[in-house]
């Protein structure tokens, strides 16, 4: 068996009727590696995440995780294989508390009847685990608030805590700093570096290249559903195809790609 967190993607294609969102993409991720995924809006980054996490099946191609073929598996089974993710357009349970949102990740795979009774000891273990995750993202003091009451940056950190609570060996972060101020972005990058990355493989989609080059040693660039470049951050960002995809011309080299 391959070491935990190994991802192999071959010839992955997704068509939505006439639209081809992703075309013939190959990608390999080794155990413990951090990969940055960039590309203009609509280039297929979120589609790739949705395919890996089983939101919908691919039209063609293969995904294997830790040596097992997971192509077309339902989302709940993929989640139980310890692939976790966050969402570009925040997805929380807004009417539940911050605490309950993180606890949600710990239901995975437990049989239905065991959900009806949680013993005192198990409850304490659960409470400690949830509070540890909340402390890591700096939300321990907001545990009893409703998720909807958190500001945007807090909601993004809550999503991260929830993803971490499931102890994923592969973590997919979809714009973890989307909509954040520079200070909040720095804070998020630090949380990811200290608590999310050690001991697991990570793929980060992010428009903020400073943050990406800090977290990831390898970048992969998508454009119109195809992979156009892959390699170290420096090499990729000097690649003329990449510059053209982002900027059209070479003379307005803003370090930040356009954000929606």
């Amino acid at each position: 068996m391959a070491s935990p967190g190994t991802l192999r993607i071959e010839g992955l294609t997704k068509r939505f009727q006439a639209l081809t969102a992703l075309e013939d993409v190959d990608l390999a991720l080794e155990s413990g590696e951090a990969l940055g995924l960039i590309g203009p809006n609509g280039s297929g980054k979120t589609t790739l995440f949705n395919l890996i996490s089983g939101v919908y099946p691919p039209s063609a191609g293969r995904i294997s995780f830790n040596g097992n073929d997971i192509t077309g598996d339902p989302a709940h089974r993929i989640s139980r294989r310890s692939i976790g993710r966050t969402f570009q357009n925040l997805r929380l349970f807004p009417r539940m508390t911050v605490y309950e949102n993180v606890r949600a990740a710990r239901h995975a795979g437990a049989p239905a009847l065991s959900q009806l009774w949680v013993g005192r000891a198990a409850r304490r273990v659960e409470r400690d685990a949830v509070m540890d995750r909340l402390a890591e993202v700096g939300l321990a003091d907001r545990a009893e608030d409703l998720a909807a009451e958190l500001p945007l940056a807090g909601q993004r950190r809550l999503e991260l805590a929830r993803a971490l609570a499931a102890k994923p060996t592969l973590l997919l972060l979809d714009e973890p700093a989307g909509g954040m101020t520079p200070a909040e972005t720095d804070h998020m990058a630090e949380i990811i570096a200290t608590h999310a990355m050690p001991g697991r493989s990570v793929i980060v989609v992010e428009h903020k290249l400073d943050m990406l080059s800090r977290l990831c040693n390898r970048l992969c660039v998508l454009n119109f559903g195809r992979k156009i470049a892959e390699g170290t951050a420096d090499a990729v960002l000097r690649n003329p195809d990449v510059l053209e995809a982002y900027l059209g011309t070479e003379d307005e080299q803003d370090r930040h790609a356009p954000v929606d």
């Binding site: 339902p74 709940h76 989640s79 349970f93 990740a105 239901h107 239905a112 009806l116 949680v118």
Partner: protein
């Protein structure tokens, strides 16, 4: 306690079962217009058991719950993947099928020199178990509330344990719930089975209180009321639907203050509450506040 008060309180208890049944499905995000079908199955099933087979009520209660759960799970299997309106229409169609089936269902047999049993559109008379065994209407009211307390205990246990959270997660965002490793389809079937069992339990108790049931009682208005109880009373706690029943039966119907206008007032109330408090009077936010206030500061 006079007979009128007892019958009002008993009715509140009885309709609480079908309200809780619809409420459980509302929690999982499904609007069922068909919970009256399980109420009917419980009423007929238990009535047949005590009248024609001579079973004691205690066993008939278990039998009714079993019928309701089995039917709930069976209907859920093909309908659980339907979303929104399609699910609502499917449950409505199923309930109408059940009602129409009872319109032609005849199962007659002679017991102690009398012919008894369901007689199609003429209904099912003489479900006289509690009168034959000398249970007073007051005692029967206590029985209704003892069983309702049991069901409420199940709900409260569910809310404090994980199962309630799982149902609410599915109701909030089924895709996200799925991504937390939850087999949404399986839990929806489970919810439908429990909901069917609860409604059938109510139907069983109803049939034995009124001694006579006919298919017309189980028309879609019963299902609409069951839904409205949760929507008025609130989806934050299982006390919500019961509050809804109390408002409707305890206030609108029984005080006769709105005699003749009851349905108009009730309909207006549903509309107003859906606008000003879309998750009902006892909604999640209020329940959360109360819970924080009750809990000692940590």
């Amino acid at each position: 306690m006079d007979d009128f008060t007892i019958s009002v309180i008993s009715n509140i208890g009885l309709f609480s079962f079908v309200a809780l049944s619809a409420y459980l499905l509302l929690l999982t995000g499904e609007i069922s217009f068909g919970q009256q079908a399980y109420f009917a199955l419980g009423a007929y099933g238990a009535g047949i058991a005590t009248v024609m087979w001579g079973w004691p009520l205690a066993i008939a209660v278990v039998w009714a719950v079993a019928i309701g759960m089995a039917a709930g799970a069976l209907v859920a299997l093909p309908t659980v993947r339907l979303r929104g309106l399609y699910y609502s229409i499917a449950t409505l169609a199923f309930a109408e099928m059940v009602r129409n089936a009872f319109l032609i269902f005849r199962y007659r047999r002679e017991v102690d020199g009398f012919e008894v049993g369901p007689a199609g559109a003429e209904g099912f008379r003489d479900i006289r178990y509690i009168y034959e065994t000398g249970i007073s209407s007051f005692e029967y009211m206590l029985l209704i509330y003892a069983l309702l307390a049991g069901v409420m205990l199940l709900f409260l246990l569910m809310e404090t344990a994980r199962l309630g959270a799982v149902f609410r997660m599915i109701g909030d965002d089924p895709v996200l719930a799925e991504m937390q490793g939850i087999d949404v389809t399986r839990y929806k079937v489970l919810a439908a089975a429990i909901a069917g069992g609860i409604a059938a339990l109510g139907g069983c108790l109803y049939a034995h209180m009124v001694t006579y049931v006919e298919p017309a009682i189980f028309n879609v208005m019963l299902g609409v009321h069951a839904l409205a109880y949760g929507l008025i009373g609130g989806l934050g706690t299982a006390f919500g639907p019961i509050l809804g029943v109390i408002i409707d039966i305890g206030v609108l119907e029984s005080t006769r203050a709105f005699s003749g206008y009851r349905m108009i007032v009730f309909g207006g109330l549903v509309a107003v509450i859906l606008i000003v408090r879309p998750r009902g009077l006892l909604d999640e936010t209020l329940v959360h506040r109360v819970r924080l206030w009750l809990r000692p500061a940590r």
